[in-house]
């Protein structure tokens, strides 16, 4: 069978990921912030809070899974691409290889998704161990996969656009961190003032949080699914275009 063009890029990332996994620091860094949030908000503040008649942990854990999948898919891709392009110059090896720009994009995004899903799965395990209210359904899995795809694609865009490694932190502070706090990870957003709410509903993570908590598919879920698909497609095509137009 003919090997797809994206596979060597994905394989390279997985070989590097395997080496990182063997280091204790990686597992620790992938879990540290969600676990801190879980302890601080879930076990601390959450003891006295109920949302929609269920315990706070049951609300918080899907949000932490969404946030963790966003952070890991995005950060790994944007940092790696930025470093590989500007400092290690390994990205130039892909550009000089006879594979299409979309193959490079798919390889990078798939690798980012694996990293996002891996970090999320750690939170899911902790979620099952700590809350009887936590459960997973097909919408949860769909939202999680779309979220990883979407933010890995966004990671390619920032990885291609940033002019120094420091810039990746700036993008993260302006876009990723506000999304983590205001998109319904820690509290429901429907009681927010209308102006803020309209901004919040433009953020893709808001729709992941809506979809990931849905017990069953409905019209709200359909809108959120549509928004996520639109964002994913837009980020993917723009990222592919940036790779295609790459020139030093």
């Amino acid at each position: 069978m003919k090997q797809p063009g994206w596979y060597p890029i994905f394989l390279r990332e997985m070989l590097l990921f395997r080496r990182k996994l063997l280091k204790l620091g990686y597992l620790f860094s992938a879990m540290i912030s969600p676990v801190i949030y879980l302890i601080a908000f879930g076990f601390g503040l959450g003891k006295s809070v109920q949302i929609s008649g269920t315990g706070y942990l049951g609300f918080l854990i899907p949000g932490l899974v969404a946030m963790s999948s966003m952070n890991n898919s995005y950060t790994w891709v944007s940092s790696a691409l930025n470093l590989n392009r500007l400092y290690f110059k390994t990205f130039q090896v892909f550009i000089q290889s006879p594979i299409s720009p979309s193959s490079i994009m798919i390889g990078e995004v798939m690798a980012g998704m694996v990293k996002g899903l891996f970090a999320s799965s750690l939170i899911i395990v902790v979620g099952f161990a700590s809350s009887p209210d936590f459960s997973i359904n097909m919408l949860f899995v769909t939202a999680l996969i779309l979220n990883c795809f979407l933010f890995a694609s966004l990671g390619v865009i920032t990885g291609m656009c940033t002019k120094s490694h420091e810039d990746t932190a700036t993008y993260s502070n302006f876009f990723i961190m506000p999304m983590a706090f205001f998109s319904g990870t820690f509290f429901p957003v429907d009681k927010m003032p209308i102006l803020i709410k309209s901004v919040i509903y433009m953020m893709p993570l808001t729709h992941t949080n809506i979809l990931i908590r849905k017990p069953q598919f409905d019209s709200d879920g359909l809108i959120s699914l549509g928004v996520l698909i639109l964002y994913a497609a837009a980020f993917f095509f723009y990222g592919s275009r940036l790779i295609k137009n790459y020139s030093e």
């Binding site: 390279r12 390994t90 550009i95 290889s97 006879p98």
Partner: protein, 283 residues
């Protein structure tokens, strides 16, 4: 190869970075099977020319073709023909030598990969280090691995950007042997260097670049004879090194006899050509 018999044809190639013109209206042709050198000081436009030819950079104007295929219009087709050894080591430091070649082989859809990877590693003397992570390699080993990687898809044109930069003289000579081995099956090799010795030792023809412009192009022997084959060097009364260029050994001896201080007679090199043409030194 084009109808004119050239493997690489460059016409009016220009590339600007902001206000700096890195390559300035460059036109030249490289024959199939020759080792062609781009010689010049830092900032002469050598690396930019390589980037333009290897699809990493796009020109502002002008054109270049490899094997009669336009580099800008058909980059994928070009990438199937070329192998590139960049100036900076861009190996994956956290992967082993074999893993580096495996990924590169897959990117270039190399068939019979396992055999070709072992042959490439043996050719550059790294077979016994195939399972070692690259971060532990010396500078010379990394350069050799870069050459093995570039040769893996058996490209018809090999680009080497400053292949021995930063290596000590002994390792540099070993590197030249490796580069000479790459010249098989009529492969065209393009080398950039600012080492005079390297250009003279390896290249059939040399193009001297200065501030993005071509200032001379010929065989090393013809370039040297165009300015004079012998140099008489002496220190003048003010302690400065003075060089007189002579067409023949007899002429050099005649000039030497007229000098009161001690003199040195030596054969000219490409640096002397560069000094004659630009008034400055290459390094």
């Amino acid at each position: 190869m084009s109808e004119s018999g050239f493997m690489i044809e460059i016409s009016g190639l220009t590339k600007n970075y902001g206000k700096i013109r890195a390559v300035d209206n460059l036109s030249l042709s490289i024959k199939s099977g020759e080792v062609f050198g781009l010689l010049g000081p830092n900032g002469a436009g050598k690396t930019t020319t390589i980037k333009l030819l290897t699809t990493l950079s796009r020109p502002d104007s002008g054109s270049c073709s490899i094997d009669a295929v336009d580099v800008v219009k058909n980059p994928l087709e070009i990438k199937e023909k070329i192998g590139v050894v960049p100036q900076e080591n861009n190996l994956d430091r956290e992967l082993t030598a074999q893993e580096n070649l495996l990924i590169y082989g897959m990117l270039h859809r190399v068939s019979d990969r396992e055999r070709k990877i072992s042959e490439a590693l043996k050719m550059v003397g790294l077979w016994d280090r195939k399972d070692s992570v690259v971060s532990g390699f010396s500078g010379g080993m990394k350069r050799r691995l870069l050459i093995a990687r570039a040769l893996l898809p058996e490209p018809s044109i090999l680009f080497l950007d400053e292949p021995s930069i930063g290596l000590d003289p002994q390792i540099r000579r070993q590197m030249w042997e490796v580069i000479r081995k790459t010249r098989i099956d009529g492969r065209t090799v393009v080398i950039t260097t600012h080492y005079i010795e390297e250009a003279e030792a390896l290249c059939d023809r040399v193009c001297i670049l200065f501030k993005g412009k071509l200032i001379a192009l010929d065989t090393p022997a013809d370039l040297k004879s165009s300015v004079g084959e012998y140099i008489v060097e002496f220190i003048d009364a003010e302690g400065r090194l003075v060089q007189d260029i002579c067409k023949s050994r007899d002429e050099a001896h005649e000039i030497a006899k007229q000098k009161k201080s001690s003199v040195t007679i030596r054969k000219s090199n490409l640096e002397d050509v560069f000094i004659q043409l630009t008034g400055g030194r290459i390094e």
